[in-house]
């Protein structure tokens, strides 16, 4: 690398290809972002209006509007007493259509706080899908990390006979095409009545997440000098305490990396979520497939939804940019 001071021209020349590449890779994301602020008219405009359009928030409004309203008890005008539901013996509450701000809103769920019922309404089911995505990714990540930590440590410190084979099998699960399992999974979960349930996706995603976690964490555990654990043993700690107090604290960066990748992979997954859920437990990406009103694809809605789905990923990417290499190449192939 030359250390001569560079001329200004030379510097500019060096920047140009870099900027071109960056623009090329960044443009589609930017285009998606800008489309999310466009009105219907502008979606189909030719020539495409990159900056010369009137922005609107209606797409986001459609997706994100949420209303939380209290539900009052219905009073019988004649008696002045609360009306009781004959079947459940509980006071009747107002109907959603009576309390929601407009008829664009539909009920999402209701909850009870300190004895007062509240109704949550949204303009679209998108928030529910986001909620599902969050719940499912967090749940599978927590579960997978616990399992992966234990297993990776086990393979690192207590390799069983033929551990190479078992380990290879576990790591090869990452290569499993989801297509290979959707048919049997569909029938199996259908038989157990578990289609369209959150637990189903959590269980399924954990397979891939655990596999990834074991691969990554075993490398981290391998790097801990055994002398540290021997010292802890001599200090009087049993194997479980040695794991908890010495080994685990030292792989926390690895755990963080696994967690982030698990969350990202779980929120991005499409095929399994598409097949195994319908409406109740559907996740983010699948939500995009629902933007098909008869009037043609709702491009504004899709862009807004896409932006919302991509934003957290961008944040996470910034967080793990240093661990990207490790995670993506899964350490060294032996």
């Amino acid at each position: 690398m030359s250390t001569k001071p560079k001329g200004l021209g030379r510097t500019i020349l060096q920047y140009i290809p870099v900027l071109l590449i960056v623009a090329l890779f960044f443009f589609p994301l930017f285009w998606m972002f800008s489309t999310s602020f466009k009105q219907r008219v502008d979606w189909y405009a030719v020539p495409p209006r990159i900056l010369s359009f009137t922005p609107t928030l209606q797409n986001y409004d459609q997706l994100l509007s949420i209303a939380i309203v209290p539900l009052q008890v219905l009073i019988d005008p004649a008696t002045g007493q609360p009306k009781i539901n004959k079947l459940t013996n509980e006071p009747q509450l107002q109907r959603p259509s009576q309390v929601l701000p407009s008829d664009e809103y539909r009920e999402l769920t209701r909850f009870n706080l300190f004895g007062q019922w509240y109704l949550v309404g949204t303009k679209s089911e998108f928030l529910r899908f986001i909620f599902n995505s969050i719940v499912i990714s967090l749940a599978t990540t927590v579960f997978s990390i616990i399992m992966a930590c234990l297993t990776a440590y086990g393979f690192s410190r207590f390799p069983p006979r033929r551990s190479d084979n078992i380990l290879f099998w576990i790591l090869s699960l990452r290569m499993l095409p989801p297509v290979a399992v959707i048919v049997p999974y569909f029938f199996m979960f259908q038989a157990f009545g578990m289609l369209d349930k959150h637990l189903t996706l959590i269980l399924v995603y954990s397979v891939f997440n655990i596999s990834f976690g074991v691969w990554l964490l075993k490398g981290f555990f391998d790097e801990i000098s055994p002398e540290l654990e021997e010292a802890a043993m001599m200090d009087g700690y049993g194997p479980w305490a040695v794991f908890r107090k010495v080994a685990l604290p030292l792989v926390v960066p690895g755990i963080a990396t696994v967690a982030v990748f698990n969350i990202i992979q779980s929120t991005n997954e499409f095929l399994l979520a598409f097949v195994l859920t319908q409406n109740v437990a559907t996740t983010g990406p699948v939500a995009l497939t629902k933007f098909l009103p008869p009037t043609g694809i709702d491009w504004g809605g899709i862009s807004a939804a896409a932006t919302l789905l991509v934003a957290p990923v961008v944040v996470f990417t910034i967080l793990v940019r240093n661990q990207l290499i490790r995670g993506m190449s899964f350490g060294q192939l032996r």
């Binding site: 870099v18 590449i21 960056v22 890779f25 960044f26 589609p28 994301l29 285009w31 979606w43 405009a45 030719v46 495409p48 399992m147 992966a148 234990l150 297993t151 440590y153 086990g154 207590f158 699960l173 290569m175 499993l176 095409p177 989801p178 297509v179 290979a180 399992v181 959707i182 048919v183 049997p184 999974y185 199996m188 954990s206 397979v207 655990i210 596999s211 049993g238 794991f243 990202i264 991005n268 499409f270 095929l271 983010g284 990406p285 899709i302 862009s303 896409a306 789905l309 991509v310 990923v313 961008v314 996470f316 990417t317 910034i318 940019r321 990207l324 290499i325 993506m328 190449s329 192939l333």
Partner: protein
């Protein structure tokens, strides 16, 4: 004074002390490994076996399963769509991976320079691979649209206008659709290859370049003799992962073309899905899945062999 002679020679020594960690030492490794292995086994082996079962029997509701042997496999293998799907998938994979490797190395080299703001640039370039392929599929579908897609606008206002061409119908013409799919895949995953290549570049000791410059080696020579060998391993890893992932490709194809027009861009996974969930020919779909698994296993083994062979070769020449 220490002695090296007779062993400890008093009357019968006190019996060996019992360790209170004995039980923990027995349980601990098993708790670590068994739950996960059982879980993964149940979640993968059972479904695969069940899939095998479905592929070998005719399962209709209300009737007991009937053994039909390899009939489903026969149907799949004899149907033209299967072989076409293999063909289109392999073409896709080879072209996409090759482009990704070439561009990836180029980008890695470009981004390796020490310029201001490079950290930010790298971040922006690495974004595409972190986003859901489905979302990306939708996006590019918007951009590739024959009428209002921005790509056609760019083409029309430059080359197309000059040459008086019709605007290409990307998602309708079979060949163009395949190209579109390749473009999307390359766009999304070249950063992945670039990332691995960049990691490889970082392992090169700068002293090698300094020594080469002292020896008056040309830049091209330095690239060939120093840079490339260090890139071989990360690139092989990248090729392995990208090949497997491209063979499995589903999300972007499904959204861009749905396998269409007709089944012209139906890659293996997409076709399998269609057979199983659109046409509901479940037995065939199961057989198809197994064939895909076998194919992927073969490809993985071949590439892994190549990697270990290249490693061994380098050990001997290094």
């Amino acid at each position: 004074m220490a002695e090296t002679t007779a062993p400890f020679a008093s009357a019968a020594p006190v019996p060996a002390a019992e360790s209170r960690f004995e039980r923990q030492i027995w349980w601990f490794p098993r708790i670590l490994l068994i739950p996960t292995i059982v879980y993964l086994f149940v979640m993968t082996v059972f479904p695969l076996l069940y899939s095998l079962f479905i592929s070998l029997f005719r399962t209709e509701t209300g009737r007991p399963p009937v053994w039909i042997g390899l009939e489903n496999y026969g149907k799949v293998l004899s149907g033209g769509e299967f072989w076409y799907a293999i063909g289109i998938t392999l073409v896709l994979t080879v072209v996409a991976v090759t482009l990704e490797v070439l561009f990836g190395v180029g980008i890695a080299l470009l981004l390796n320079q020490r310029l201001r703001g490079m950290g930010l640039f790298r971040l922006l370039v690495y974004l595409p691979m972190m986003v859901s392929p489905l979302v990306i599929g939708y996006f590019w579908r918007y951009m590739f649209d024959g009428t209002f897609g921005i790509i056609n606008w760019v083409i029309n206002s430059t080359i197309g206008g000059l040459l008086q061409l019709d605007p290409p119908q990307w998602l309708i013409d079979p060949v163009l659709a395949a190209i579109a799919i390749i473009v999307v895949d390359v766009w999304q995953w070249t950063p992945f290859v670039a990332l691995l290549a960049a990691a490889g570049l970082n392992t090169i000791p700068p002293a090698l370049y300094e020594a080469a410059t002292l020896d008056r080696a040309s830049r091209w020579m330095q690239f060939r003799r120093i840079t490339l060998p260090f890139l071989v391993t990360p690139l092989l890893v990248a090729i392995l992962f990208r090949s497997i992932d491209t063979i499995k490709i589903f999300d972007s194809v499904y959204i861009l073309t749905g396998g269409g027009p007709g089944d012209y861009t139906a890659t293996l996974s997409v076709l399998d899905y269609k057979v199983g969930f659109t046409y509901f020919r479940v037995g065939e779909a199961a057989a198809f899945s197994w064939l895909i698994v076998i194919l992927i296993n073969i490809v993985t083994t071949v590439i892994l062999r190549l990697i270990t062979r290249s490693r061994r070769a380098r050990l001997y020449t290094a």
